[in-house]
Structures are given as C-alpha cells and as structure tokens.
C-alpha cells in the first residue's frame, strides 16, 4: 500500500484501491452473499391459509348481519367479536402477502435422495472428466512445450485455439452431430456395414454418459492444456537431458522431474476443468436431450425456472460452490501448492 502510494501518488492509488474493492464487492461478495442468504431461508406456507381467511370473512359477514338486525341498542359483545375477527383477518392477510421467513439449513438437509444421488453423480462425473482431460492434455501440452520446434509449437497452439473462436454451443452441437444416431460415426459404421440405419441397429452413443464426457472434455481441454503448457514450457530443457543422461526412463523423468515442475499448472488446469464441468449446463443439456440422467446443473436450472423455488435452487447452487471450494483446497493440499503458485 505504502509503496503504491509512493509510486503512483495518493489520487491514483485511491482509484486503484476503490476499483479493486468495487470489483471484489460486485463480482465476488455480492452475488455469493445473495445466494447464501437465499439458500438459508424458506417460507413455511400454510396451505390452509386461504381457507382460513375465507372462513373468517364469512363469519364476519354473519356477525355484521347480526349487528345490523339488532338496531337501536347495539350489542357491545357482538361489536367486540367483530373487532377481534377483523384483527385476525388482518394478520392472516399479512401472512399471505408477506409470509414469514424461516431461517435454517432446511434447504440443504431436505434434498431428496434422488437429487442427492444426482449431486454425487455429477461430482463423480466431473472428477472423471477432469482425470480424463488431464490424461489427454498432459502429453499434448508436453509435446508442444518440449518436443516440437518453436514454429511447429506456435502452429499447434493456434490449431488448438481456433475452435475456441466458435461459440461453445456450436462446438457442442458439432459433437452431437458426430455422435447422433445417424451422425458421422454411425454413418461411417453403416458405410462399413457394421450397423444399419434401416434396422435401427445404430449405436446410441448419445444415451451413454460417455458422450457428455467427450463433449465436456472437448469443451474444456484448453483450460487444461494452457496452464500445463505454461508451466512445462518453463522447464529447462537441460533438466530433461540430464535425466535422460543419468538413465532415467520416460516414466521416471516425468514422475520425478516434469510433473513436480508442472504441479501448479496441473492444479490450475484440474480446478478449472472440474469447476467448469461440474457447473456446465449447456453441454449435458444438448448432449443428452433429456435421454440420460440429469446433471446437477440442470436440476438447479429447474429449481429456479420451472419449480420457481429460488431458495432450494440457491441452496443447490451454493452446495456446488462449496464442492468447488473443497476441490480447490484438496488440490492445493495434494499438489502442495499455495494460492501464490496457482495465481501465477
């Protein structure tokens, strides 16, 4: 702070700090706080409320009729009854228009076993996607960073980036077309005579959860490749040669030299891929077309926009945030990297 003030002066430093604080508030704290708040209360709606109000009104009508019949000497007892009934109606109506919030963890604890199994399944799938993406990306990143000539590395990188200029939805649709009943792969198989469209003996790729995997990996590979590439790139080539010279096998060299060096990149890649895939909505939505089980993100969407239960939706969404946070902490522990290494 002091060094900032010294190098930029009070005015500019003030602007920097204010902007940063504003950014933190607007982008991080505010939406999460709102979500957390939403998730922590529910409205305990009384189903009988409407009926109770109706009954009270009819009672009131009767009483008022009684009061009118007894002209002249108004019965104070009846009048008192009318007053209490009116008060009762007022509180009931207040309850209906502004129902009392009941704070607690009920939105979290009341998750149905079906939803919970989807929750667990989604986490498991996202983990699987992360592992698979790592298995695919690490060799690619290593090859580009250390084995290719600089020109070829640049070309390969460009080749990897170009598809990302296309909208994510279109990229996923491309996979849909590849894996569809009469898609590219099945057409190829049909051409080879393995399956037949007429007999509907095509392979229903889209009904397997694997198709979502493929599309998710495809959608998020770059987020795995780039961080790994960046860290592997900085590895001194002489270290690879030294390991080779000392007789280190490919496995040992990677296990003892390259992987430890690439740890921060791997951690970042895994965190990004995991978070993106566990929270991905469009990919499972497009790929399954509702034919295989729900992903948790689809469930959250439905809580918000179909069931209109924002509180439960917020609780579900916040559970996912907690899972992601836990994942980050676990990754940091496993890879023994600090926040500093990751934010590099």
């Amino acid at each position: 702070m002091n060094s900032l003030i010294r190098s930029y002066g009070k005015g500019l430093t003030g602007i920097f700090v204010t902007l940063t604080a504003f950014w933190l508030l607007l982008l991080i704290i505010l939406p999460q706080a709102f979500m957390l708040d939403q998730s922590l209360w529910s409205i305990d709606k009384d189903d009988q409320l409407g009926m109770k109000i109706d009954r009270a009104y009819s009672d009131l009508g009767l009483l008022e009729y009684d009061a009118q019949q007894a002209t002249g000497d108004t019965n104070p007892a009846v009048q008192e009854k009318i007053d209490t009934l009116k008060e009762e109606i007022a509180t009931l109506e207040a309850q209906e228009t502004d129902p009392p919030r009941e704070y607690g963890l009920q939105n979290y604890t009341r998750m149905s076993s079906l939803h919970f199994s989807i929750f667990v399944k989604s986490i498991f799938y996202a983990l699987a996607v992360t592992v698979l993406a790592f298995a695919v990306c690490y060799p690619v990143a290593f090859t580009i960073a250390k084995l290719a000539t600089p020109q070829r590395a640049a070309l390969l990188m460009l080749g990897l980036i170009i598809p990302y200029a296309i909208n994510e939805l279109l990229r996923v649709y491309a996979w849909l077309m590849i894996l569809d009943y009469q898609g590219v792969i099945n057409s190829l198989l049909a051409w080879m005579g393995v399956v037949s469209f007429a007999d509907k003996t095509w392979i229903p790729f889209l009904e397997y959860p694997g198709s979502v995997f493929v599309a998710l990996i495809y959608a998020y590979v770059l987020f795995m490749i780039f961080p790994i590439y960046n860290t592997v790139e900085t590895l001194d080539k002489n270290q690879l040669e030294a390991a080779q010279d000392l007789g280190g096998s490919v496995f040992l060299t990677h296990w003892r030299v390259v992987l430890p060096h690439a740890k921060p990149g791997i951690a970042v890649g895994c965190i990004m891929t995991f978070m993106l895939s566990v929270g991905s909505y469009s990919v499972p939505q497009i790929m399954t077309r509702g034919k295989s089980g729900d992903w948790f993100s689809q469930l959250i969407y439905r809580q918000f926009f179909e069931t209109q239960n924002w509180n439960v939706g917020a609780a579900y969404a916040f559970s996912l945030v907690l899972v992601c946070l836990a994942f980050i902490l676990i990754m940091m522990k496993v890879f023994k990297v600090g926040i500093r290494d990751i934010s590099k």
Partner: protein, 360 residues
C-alpha cells in the same frame, strides 16, 4: 582405473547446410584429463554431445572403450555429462539429485541414500544432503552436479564449461578440487572451456579448436612451447607477432623481413623463400636490452607499463600492434621513455606461414 578411452574417427557434424564440426580424428586416453579449448561457437559442445550420445555424427564413428557408440543413446553410454548450467533438479533434495541415476537403475531407496551420502562426502558436502540445490552456493551446486554424475559410475565424465559461472577465487579452488576428484576416481575427464588458463592448469592434454576444426592436440607443455598454427600461438598464452616475407632459409631457421628489420626464427612450417610469414615470440622470452645484443635486436617506441604484482608488462609500439615484454618484478623499476632496444634469441622465435590469429 575405471576410465575408458574415447575415439572420434573421421567425425563430421552438420546442422542442415552448416558444418559445426569439420572432419575430426581425436583420441582421448583412458584416465586422462583432456580439455577441449576454443572460442565461443567453435563446436566444443557439439563434440561433447556426440560423445555423450545426444546427437550422432553426420559422418564417422564415435568409440568408447573400443566399442562403437553410434546410434546408442545417452542413457546407454558409459558417460555422464555435467551441463554448463548444471541442470540440477531444483525440486529434489541434494541427495535425491545425486541418487537420481541410481533410482533410474532400480537401486532400493535405503541403499541409494547411503551411496548418495557417501558421494556427497567425497565432494565435501556433508550436512547439505537434505537441503535443495537452491539453498546452496554456486560452488556447492557445482559439487552436487559432480556427485550426481559420479553416482552412475561413468567411465568418461564430460564437463561443459562447468566453472564459467563461478567467481575467480572459487574457480581456482574448484579446479584443484576437480583435478583431485579425477585423480581419486581415475575416470576419463573431457573438460570444455574457452579459458586457456584453466585448460593449461588442469589438463594432461588439450585440443584447441577454431570454427569446427581441431587445430592442435598436444600436451600442455608442447602446446605452449610449440604451437603449430598462428591461431594456437595467439590463443594459448600470449605471443608477440611480427609479420613479413621470408628472405633466407638456413639450417632450419628462416629470416623474415619485417618492419622491425630482418628477424630470425625456427622455420617450423618448412616455409620457402618469398612466403608471407609470421614470427611468434613469447613476451617472457622478449627482453629489454641495455647494451648486450641478442640474435634479433631492434628499437621500438615505449608505450606503457602495467604492473601485475609479481610481473611487469612493458608495452612497445610495432606495426602489428603491441610488442610486450614480460619481466619479473624485482623492484628495480627504471623510468622508460622514448625509444628502447628490445630483442630475443632466434631459438625462442617460431616462424610460421601467415594465418588467422586469435582475436582475444
């Protein structure tokens, strides 16, 4: 003695159309401390990489201990390379660095740990085993690299300018240390350097390279006393140079007509009358004369005097730059001014056909 000999037979190395190493024949004896000396970019590292197996020569054969090595990778050769930047593994402890080669050979952890500790003791690094390389000083890192290379029990240790990053004091100390390790282990050392002083103090024999060509391979003494080319004469140690044409030849001596007059020296190249030639004479064999005359005596303008502690360098102007007279500092300093008479004996001067000089 577990060192092995290394032979390069008609080796050529090309990168595309560029020839980094011209046809070379080189024999390095088992257990020898052999240096390859040459200016930057002359192909020293390329030769080392051919011996260690990272590259195969475009032509010719590499033999280690009499066995043909072409096509065999670095892991399978009885060599270990110490890189110019050491290339220690920064995320491993020092003993794990040293033990890496053993780990690659499947030695059990307890055993390789013991061996690593032993080797670190050999290079004087007790107590630093559990630290990481980045917690060590430059000289200590150097020693970890040496221990790591020795761990695989190489027959040939290849060192690519390993001392160039160290400061002078440490460098001198590490020279002695390396020499000692070489003596103790009997391993063949091939040591690369562009520092001729370093090569002279450490080596049994030296190969001097220039632009992909090995100009001379010789013992340290011979290299200094009998340089074979103008480049070697000026690259290894200092030499005064006088240029001219040969006018007479007699009894293995030649007389060269220079700006300083007729100069007589050993006709090393068996040059003939009329050839353009250079006369080389070491500064310590060149004398400042008062009265007495030597075989070659002439007058030159005094330029300046540099004190180097035990020695004094006196600089005189000549047509080819400076002539240096290297004198012991005996505390009898005389003020010099104007012209002075200097000279040297014909048997201390070497006449060669003109050629390229070292620009250092």
């Amino acid at each position: 003695m577990r060192g092995k000999d290394v032979r390069l037979e008609d080796v050529v190395m090309r990168f595309g159309s560029f020839t980094a190493v011209q046809q070379t024949n080189l024999t390095i004896n088992a257990g020898e401390f052999f240096s390859i000396l040459g200016p930057s970019g002359c192909g020293k590292t390329t030769i080392l990489r051919m011996v260690s197996g990272f590259i195969d020569p475009s032509e010719g054969r590499v033999l280690i201990g009499g066995e043909q090595m072409n096509g065999i990778g670095p892991a399978k050769r009885p060599t270990a390379l110490i890189f110019q930047n050491l290339a220690l593994f920064p995320l491993m402890s020092n003993w794990e660095n040293v033990a890496f080669g053993l780990e690659a050979r499947g030695v059990a952890k307890a055993k390789r740990r013991d061996r690593a500790y032993e080797l670190m003791a050999l290079v004087g690094l007790q107590g630093h085993e559990e630290k990481t390389p980045n917690e060590l000083s430059g000289g200590q890192k150097q020693r970890v690299a040496i221990a790591r290379a020795l761990a695989v029990e190489p027959a040939v240790l290849l060192l690519d300018e390993p001392l160039s990053a160290l400061d002078l004091k440490l460098r001198q100390y590490m020279r002695a240390e390396l020499k000692e390790i070489q003596r103790k282990t009997g391993v063949t050392f091939i040591f690369i350097t562009h520092d001729q002083g370093e090569a002279l103090t450490m080596s049994d024999r030296i190969a001097v390279m220039k632009a992909g060509v090995v100009e001379q391979v010789d013992t340290v003494d011979n290299l200094y006393a009998h340089p074979r080319t103008p480049f070697v004469a000026t690259f290894v140690g200092e030499n005064n140079v006088l240029e001219g044409k040969i006018s007479h030849i007699q009894d293995g001596f030649a007389i060269v007509e220079t700006q300083q007059g007729a100069i007589r020296g050993i006709n090393q190249d068996k040059a003939t009358i009329g050839d353009k030639a250079m006369v080389f004479v070491r500064p310590e064999r060149t004398k400042l004369l008062n009265g007495a005359a030597l075989d070659n005596t002439f007058e030159v303008d005094f330029e300046r005097r540099d004190l180097e502690g035990a020695f004094v360098n006196l600089f005189f102007k000549s047509d080819t730059g400076s002539i240096i007279v290297h004198e012991a500092n005996l505390g009898q300093h005389k003020e010099l001014e104007g012209r002075a008479k200097i000279g040297f004996n014909a048997s201390d001067a070497i006449v060669m056909r003109s050629g390229e000089l070292s620009d250092e």
